[in-house]
């Protein structure tokens, strides 16, 4: 009995040996996770805290209010929300059909070697800095849109439409390459099985490849939408930056052909500096920030969810 107890004592304990110094690698990865998560939470909390004055002042009316006159302490983000949504919608409506069709061509029709070259080219386009696209917009699109909107009562090329078109051009490479990845994710055996039944290449794409890749393609679209909503400098250069351009009816298109303001162009403009001294004005700017982050983060979350779903099915 005593002998057994003695052996028991000699045996090292298995429990409770973990400490910060015992396993530095685990400490490092946990620390990094906590730090990055903490930074995100800190940024979010700061936005909420800094924007508190405007929520107290305007309430929920801040989100959709149509008037922004900071000298009169009137703050409504409606026109900017409208601008952001309109610009992003134009971009998505143009870029997605074109991008998906281009991706189908890339993935299903182009010979392998050419496909690789095209893919590199498209990804190079996706990496061009946005200010370059913005200057391209100033140089080419503004002129072109200026002439086109005249019959609709427009008087300048700096319009929401110009910004939307520019964003479509910018979103196209990403849409093409992500959709192409989604299409390539569909198992090759499925294509061979369809062709083995005597169906054509077009039928294979329409009946098997696109339906299976669809969640991932929509995910790619949402990712592009999130980017479009958050894009600042290119939009800033061509959108006209005119406040309070809210249409009388929500779905009327008249304001598309007019200069407008988006959440990002407002935040990227000089008013942010002006607001710094005034808690209410600053709070309004932070409120715009918070709206922007909420919208883009939900787009990203939706995209990740759908892309994961697409992978699960394929």
């Amino acid at each position: 009995m005593t002998r057994a107890l003695a052996i028991e004592k000699e045996r090292p304990s298995l429990a409770g040996t973990w400490s910060f110094t015992h396993d530095p690698w685990t400490t490092l990865v946990w620390g990094s996770l906590i730090l990055s998560g903490g930074l995100f939470l800190f940024a979010g909390a700061t936005l909420v805290w800094q924007s508190l004055p405007i929520w107290r002042h305007e309430g929920w009316g801040f989100l959709f209010g149509g008037e922004w006159f900071y000298r009169h302490e009137l703050f409504g983000a409606g026109a900017m929300l409208y601008g952001s949504v309109a610009v992003a919608a134009i971009a998505v409506l143009l870029a997605v059909p074109l991008g998906v069709l281009a991706a189908v061509f890339l993935s299903e029709y182009l010979p392998r070697r050419l496909r690789w070259g095209m893919k590199v080219l498209v990804e190079a386009l996706a990496s061009v800095p946005s200010v370059v696209y913005g200057l391209f917009g100033v140089l080419v699109l503004r002129e072109w849109v200026g002439g086109a909107v005249e019959p609709f009562g427009g008087w300048t090329g700096d319009t929401l439409l110009t910004a939307g078109l520019l964003l479509a051009v910018m979103a196209l490479p990403l849409t093409v390459t992500l959709s192409d990845d989604a299409l390539r994710g569909v198992a090759q055996e499925q294509r061979v099985a369809v062709r083995g039944l005597g169906l054509t290449r077009g039928e294979t794409v329409l009946l098997v490849v696109l339906p299976q890749a669809w969640p991932a393609v929509v995910g790619a679209t949402l990712l592009g939408l999130g980017r479009a909503l958050g894009e600042t400098i290119a939009v800033f250069l061509v959108v006209g930056r005119m406040d309070n351009q809210l249409p009388e009816k929500w779905f009327s298109l008249e304001m598309i052909f007019q200069p407008g303001q988006t959440l990002t162009s407002k935040l990227g403009g000089p008013e942010t500096h002006l607001a710094a001294g005034d808690p209410l004005h600053w709070g309004a700017m932070m409120g715009l920030c918070l709206m922007l982050v909420a919208i883009t983060v939900s787009c990203l979350g939706g995209a990740r969810y759908l892309q994961g779903k697409g992978r699960g099915r394929a």
Binding site: P111, R112, A187, E189, Q190, R191, V192, A193, V194, R195, G196, L197, G198, L199, T200, E203, L207, V208, P211, Q212, R313
Partner: protein
């Protein structure tokens, strides 16, 4: 039978003529003449010639890597989908050279169906899977759909198991059922010839037996080309077989004929023994 070639070409199928110049009454339905396949310059099949008689089950036996699957995919031109594959020689199907560039390959694949090693069902219902090809290729009226589904599933020995689950997703079936569903999908098109690429290699004993029964049941009505590495299976279901071996990295025909002749050939026997040894080792 209408010619497979496009209307424009005005295809005039030539008659197969026996060496003596007399029209052969037992003309082979499929004749490969010196067919060679290369991929990226590397030889896969070397001067393969074989004759398949109408209504028979023709087995192709050989070790893995001998190009057996490529051989099947050459017959229904699925190799066209693989980049950098080159096919030389002639493949006469009912007297027409199907390697001709004006052959409508989609129409060809309707007449020569195929079942693959791994079943790939589509993510739709069981009934939709059966109808997948036939409703687009031949056009099935809404009123005829149930009948087409039943006939194909009956022929694939699946009707009893699945008749109450036709609207369920085909992805929930077992592998054996999926493979028979793929077979039903091919049979729904009523092909004259069926290419089967090791259809039972991924299946359990019960599903294997079901598929072998099915092959025996199709005899006389359809011509079947069966690739297998299972010697017992070849003995059980085939009328004639070709033994493929690998020489200098490319598949070649070592011997073809009735089962006894091929199994009796000493060179083939050595090859089969090696294959069986390998399989035994794989099982251990």
């Amino acid at each position: 039978m209408e010619p497979i070639e496009n209307q424009k070409s005005g295809g005039n199928p030539q008659k197969t003529v026996a060496p003596g110049g007399i029209e052969n009454p037992q003309a082979p339905v499929l004749a490969l003449e010196e067919v060679s396949v290369t991929a990226q310059g590397k030889s896969i099949l070397n001067r393969v010639s074989l004759d398949v008689q109408p209504g028979e089950v023709f087995g192709i036996l050989g070790p893995s890597g001998a190009g057996k699957s490529t051989l099947l995919r050459t017959i229904n031109r699925l190799v066209d989908l693989q980049p950098d594959f080159r096919v030389r020689g002639r493949i006469l199907y009912r007297g027409e050279d199907i390697l001709h560039r004006r052959v409508d390959t989609d129409a060809l694949r309707v007449r020569i169906g195929m079942v693959f090693q791994q079943p790939s069902v589509f993510p739709v219902s069981i009934a939709e899977n059966v109808l997948f090809g036939v409703r687009r290729v031949k056009g099935v009226r809404r009123s005829e759909r149930a009948e087409v589904v039943e006939r194909a599933l009956r022929e694939a020995h699946l009707w009893g198991e699945l008749k109450d689950r036709l609207k369920d997703s085909a992805w929930n079936l077992s592998t054996g059922q999926q493979q028979r569903l793929c077979l039903a999908r091919a049979l729904a098109l009523d092909p004259e010839m069926l290419l089967m690429d090791e259809p039972t290699s991924a299946l359990d004993a019960r599903s294997t037996e079901a598929i072998e029964d099915l092959i025996l049941g199709m005899r006389e009505r359809r011509t079947v080309l069966l690739v297998t590495h299972n010697l017992e299976q070849a003995r059980r279901v085939t009328d004639r077989i070709a033994c493929v071996c690998v020489r200098d990295g490319a598949g070649e025909i070592l011997e073809q004929g009735c089962c006894d002749a091929v199994f009796g050939n000493p060179a083939c026997r050595r090859l089969f023994e090696r294959m069986e040894d390998l399989e035994t080792w794989a099982d251990l």
